[in-house]
Amino acid sequence: MSGTKRAATRPLSPHIQIWRWHISALASITHRITGGALYFGTFLIAAWLVALAISPEAYAMMEGFITSIPGKIVLFLWAVAVLFHLYNGIRHLIWDGPGIGFSPKVASQVSTLIYVLAILSAAALMFAAGAF
């Protein structure tokens, strides 16, 4: 009984190209991409707090960036990423706990809903912050 022989006959996992496209797959990779982006975004938020502790000049520099057009774009994208990751994260917790929403139809509908909600609530947040 050789090890290599046995390993060669084990089944391979189906490759990504054979699956029909689903929005739930897009939501899945978006969760990872937003998570990765938020990792770096967190350092910007931390910089804002550190600047506040350092001096009024340092804070003015951060404020200058946040209120500029590129700053507002970054802030809006950050808000979309936070809210998407939050909503989809809650869905993950519901999947793990009560186990609701696994059927393909519901999973697809909820995925669309999360995209729409994330963008709308991020816009509302920016509006509330007086950024628009």
């Binding site: 090890g3 931390a46 007086g130």
Partner: protein
């Protein structure tokens, strides 16, 4: 079903396979996620309130004990959660041992550095105000 069922003899001899720490990682990622479900909405509200108040207003706001406490809690949960999440991304995509180990170490350093920087800033503002 014996444990050897899905292990080839070679693999069993080499001692490779699960590191037996997956369940702990999974649970910790979820526990920090549950904390963040409450902390993140508060934090978004906080950022709007504090950032719109100018330098003085932001200082006063961060200096309030309840806000300082919640900021520290948020920073702690975020630091843990982001470290665990980035660890999975690194382990999934970086196969080269040296690069992978380097990135995993940097990930740990960055997460702790972020937490300490925020904690120092918050405590400094809190005690000064």
């Amino acid at each position: 079903m014996s444990e050897g069922q899905y292990l080839t003899p070679t693999k069993a001899a080499r001692g490779l396979g699960s590191a037996k720490s997956g369940t702990q990682h999974h649970i910790r990622l979820r526990v920090t996620a549950i904390a963040l479900v409450f902390l993140v909405p508060w934090f978004l509200y906080a950022v709007i309130k504090a950032s719109g108040a100018g330098y003085e207003g932001a200082l006063v706001w961060v200096g309030q004990p309840i806000n300082a406490t919640l900021l520290l809690l948020t920073a702690a949960a975020v630091s843990y959660h982001m470290r665990l999440g980035m660890q999975v991304i690194i382990e999934d995509y970086i196969a080269k041992t040296g690069t992978r180990t380097t990135l995993l170490i940097l990930n740990t350093f960055a997460a702790y550095a972020m937490f300490i920087a925020v904690a120092m800033a918050v405590v400094q503002i809190w005690t000064a105000g």
